[in-house]
């Protein structure tokens, strides 16, 4: 294969801009517009031409996104389909799966969820016990998943299940696409201690998956799952698209789509501690005069500033194509500390009002929501304990703990179910 001449960013940008100017039509339905975008290869310009792309380098995705934004147009749908399912299937799926699934993800016609974690397999994801058994041309699935955003309305799920109980834990797993709209699949919302229900539990009872919906090879599910998890880290940030208030059917639908998507995450700023509110709250209550409270505010703001600068350091290194040092990996743990300290400070500031919630309480319940959401910050996406393991091993090179379960047949390993 000959290497085509590398296009430069300016010409890609110009070409994309011209195409958007000629083709963007806010009066289309959102799906109609995205079909047009996908068909032209501008939805995912770095993808292969055979699958909705233009074979451009990776940077082209960002350049074209900017142009779509600049042109007032709508880009890819938000969520698990775009962020996780599409890149995983593109990277690891068969051609049949790519043909079947990629386009409807990009147009938003089919939505997805992720079915990895289980009640008995959290920190130790590879210890999962959802069972997949071959039955002719299909697989029969039994088990329970948890922490599944959007599972109650998704069309398909990314599923990891155990197909071999005699293999060691990481080698007995297989990765599937599971159709969610079937009798054997039930998604139930899971209420959190802060009263939100952002996640579901998914119960699978003799649910069926066509054999062709296997992603990668049988027994190779852990490797495929790691691909998905790498994309998950990459798309971890939750920048909300800004569509302004221009009229048009596609824009209306995109605004509704974004609102629905972000509804799930509306308590996340509270989970992170709402440091932004601290100074104004202290001033409003007069607690900014209390030297003891001031110390804690200063600690909090210092931690947050330091974390921002640490992120800036990592970003600066990456922008020069240098690999960031440890500063690139401490953010998650820092955020737990910040959230905890923010909760302490909000408490000190609120005093007796901290006992209240909702409309009776400060800022219409926002502060109360901080107090009862912060505990999730140090759990979700990897507990502080797991983060410290990772940091000590990856960033400091300390030895792993000796393992007991890696080489044994999984059926001989003590596990929760």
């Amino acid at each position: 294969m000959s290497t085509p001449a590398q296009p430069d960013a300016d010409s890609v940008r110009a070409e994309a801009r011209a195409w958007i100017q000629s083709n963007w039509d806010p009066d289309l339905s959102l799906v109609e517009w995205r079909r047009r975008l996908v068909d032209a290869g501008w939805a995912t310009p770095s993808w292969p031409e055979r699958w909705h792309g233009r074979d451009l380098p990776k940077w082209a995705d960002d350049v074209v996104s900017e142009e779509i934004r600049a042109g007032g147009a709508v880009g890819l749908p938000l969520g698990t389909g775009t962020n996780l399912a599409a890149p995983t299937i593109l990277a690891q799926g068969s051609d049949e799966l790519r043909d079947r699934f990629l386009a409807p993800i990009l147009t938003g016609e089919e939505t997805w969820c992720q079915l990895f974690s289980e009640p008995g397999a959290g920190s130790d994801l590879a210890g999962l016990t959802t069972r997949a058994e071959r039955d002719g041309d299909a697989w029969v699935i039994n088990g329970q998943k948890v922490w599944n955003t959007s599972a109650h309305h998704a069309d398909f799920g990314l599923l990891v299940a155990r197909t071999d109980w005699d293999a060691p834990k990481h080698r007995g797993l297989t990765y599937f696409v599971i159709p969610m709209h079937q009798e054997g699949v039930e998604a139930r919302p899971l209420r959190q201690m802060n009263n939100h229900a952002s996640f579901n539990e998914v119960f699978m009872t003799d649910a069926r998956i066509p054999h062709e919906y296997m992603v990668g090879q049988q027994g190779d599910g852990w490797r495929v799952a790691l691909t998905t998890l790498a994309f998950e880290r990459k798309f971890g940030s939750l920048a909300r698209p800004q569509y302004g208030d221009a009229p048009g059917r596609a824009l209306d639908e995109a605004r509704a789509e974004a609102a629905a998507h972000f509804e799930t995450y509306k308590w996340y700023p509270q989970r992170a501690g709402r440091v932004d509110l601290v100074v104004s709250r202290a001033q409003a209550t007069g607690k900014d005069k209390d030297p003891v409270v001031r110390q804690e505010i200063a600690r909090l703001l210092s931690m947050q500033k330091a974390a921002q600068w640490t992120a800036d350091r990592a970003r600066a290194a990456r922008s020069l194509d240098r690999t960031p040092g440890p500063e690139g990996s401490i953010g998650k743990l820092a955020n737990s500390d910040i959230a905890r300290q923010a909760s302490v400070v909000h408490g000190m500031i609120s005093g007796a009002d901290g006992m209240l919630t909702g409309a009776d309480s400060p800022l219409d319940g926002v502060v109360a929501e901080v107090l009862i959401s912060v505990p999730a910050q140090s759990i979700a996406g990897g507990t502080d304990q797991i983060q410290r393991n990772i940091l000590s091993e990856k960033a400091l090179g300390l030895p792993r703990e000796p393992s007991f379960d890696k080489d044994k047949p999984f059926r001989d390993v003590p596990h929760n179910r």
């Binding site: 959290g122 948890v146 919630t357 759990i379 304990q385 379960d405």
Partner: protein, 368 residues
């Protein structure tokens, strides 16, 4: 002997624990959390009739059993462990203590027998919207005309204020602060509480007729006495709640496996639990010391009460948040019980003054 509960007191502990396990398991607590009243009057009556809990520390001449505060230490520790929903703290610690402090024999004769029998639910209203627990900033005014007192103003953060039969109110008079009793003629607005197992209300008074309890101008002394007792009762509750959290965490850590091992065999969990144990046992020592200070009428009570409230608040909150952490995602769910303790811990941290307030008070009251 100091720090040794008598066999009778230990037996009381077992009795209370059994009673709460039977009549008020956490499933029942969850049911009551969702009700308007917030507690089950039938259980409250049983507490009085079967166990005599309301009468324990009330003198026999006022219909009580004439035991002392060590019994209450035991009872509050168990109620904290069980997250009991009941107007017990308000009736016994706030109202009964205020009446006893007031030295108003007529009022004591009128009100204490009902409180001791569990038929009168009473509370004390002193804080106002600004959330100050001491009397210094009280605005609600009491004026006397033709020998009758009338209250005008508001009270907030009144525990069980929406359901109490009798509300004792600290109001400002020309002589300073004074204690009053009201039963009607004021409005009650339940407040939305983070901790649904303990209800608060805001009360509005507009020329509400009230009965003066004790001496006009004696309200600050009465309030200060009650605040010390309230701090100790809360500290005991907090120790009980913290212990429940630790027990829950240890049980889970023994049972839950990850990476082929019980998570309780990982030092990250073991050491967290050991630190919780250290803090809880230290807090327990402080709470018991405060209880004995009441029982022994120790002059150090105000200092020790503040020490205990600060220490036990911190220990409880740390235990509750670590319990969620040890349980992982499960611990953050509504269906798991950890959040019930977390919310009680967080709220009782603020109730009657937070830890930094009580640390400062501890030094001041120690003459430092």
């Amino acid at each position: 002997m100091k720090f040794v509960f008598s066999e009778e007191q230990e037996e009381l502990r077992q009795e209370v624990r059994r009673f709460l396990q039977k009549t008020s398991p956490l499933t029942e607590v969850r049911r009551l959390m969702e009700t308007d009243e917030g507690y089950d009057p039938a259980i409250y009556r049983q507490m009085a009739q079967q166990l005599g809990l309301q009468s324990l520390a009330i003198p026999e001449e006022y219909g009580g059993a004439g035991y002392g505060w060590l019994e209450l230490v035991v009872v509050f520790e168990e109620m904290g462990r069980g997250l009991l929903c009941a107007p017990y703290f308000s009736s016994i610690v706030l109202a009964a203590s205020a009446l006893l402090e007031s030295g108003d024999d007529a009022a004591k004769r009128d009100l204490l027998p009902g409180i001791a029998a569990g038929t009168t639910r009473a509370t004390l209203a002193h804080a106002e919207d600004n959330g100050q627990w001491d009397g210094s900033q009280i605005v609600l005014t009491a004026v006397q005309s033709d020998g009758d007192w009338q209250l005008t103003g508001h009270k907030s953060f009144v525990v069980d204020g929406a359901t109490a039969d009798v509300v004792l109110v600290i109001g400002r008079t020309a002589a300073g602060l004074a204690l009053f009793a009201v039963s009607e003629g004021f409005s009650r607005t339940p407040l939305a509480t983070m901790d649904q197992t303990r209800r608060l209300a805001r009360l509005e008074f507009a020329a509400t007729p009230a009965r003066l309890i004790g001496t006009d101008g004696d309200g600050e002394r009465i309030l200060n006495g009650v605040r010390d007792l309230a701090a100790v009762a809360l500290a005991c509750e907090q120790v009980g709640g913290a212990q429940a959290c630790l027990d829950m965490s240890v049980d889970y850590a023994k049972m839950r496996h990850q990476f082929g091992r019980p998570i309780g065999s990982f030092q990250a969990i073991k050491h967290l639990c050991a630190d919780m144990l250290l803090e809880i046992e230290s807090a327990r020592s402080a709470a018991y010391a405060a209880g004995w200070a009441i029982a022994d009428q120790d002059d150090d009570l105000p200092a020790i009460a503040s020490l205990a409230k600060a220490y036990c608040s911190d220990a409880y909150f740390n235990a509750a948040r670590n319990t969620i952490q040890i349980h992982g995602g499960l611990g953050f769910t509504w269906e798991h019980d950890a959040h019930l303790y977390f919310k009680r811990a967080k709220s009782s941290e603020f109730f009657f003054g937070d830890s930094s307030y009580h640390r400062e008070q501890y030094l001041q009251r120690s003459g430092i």
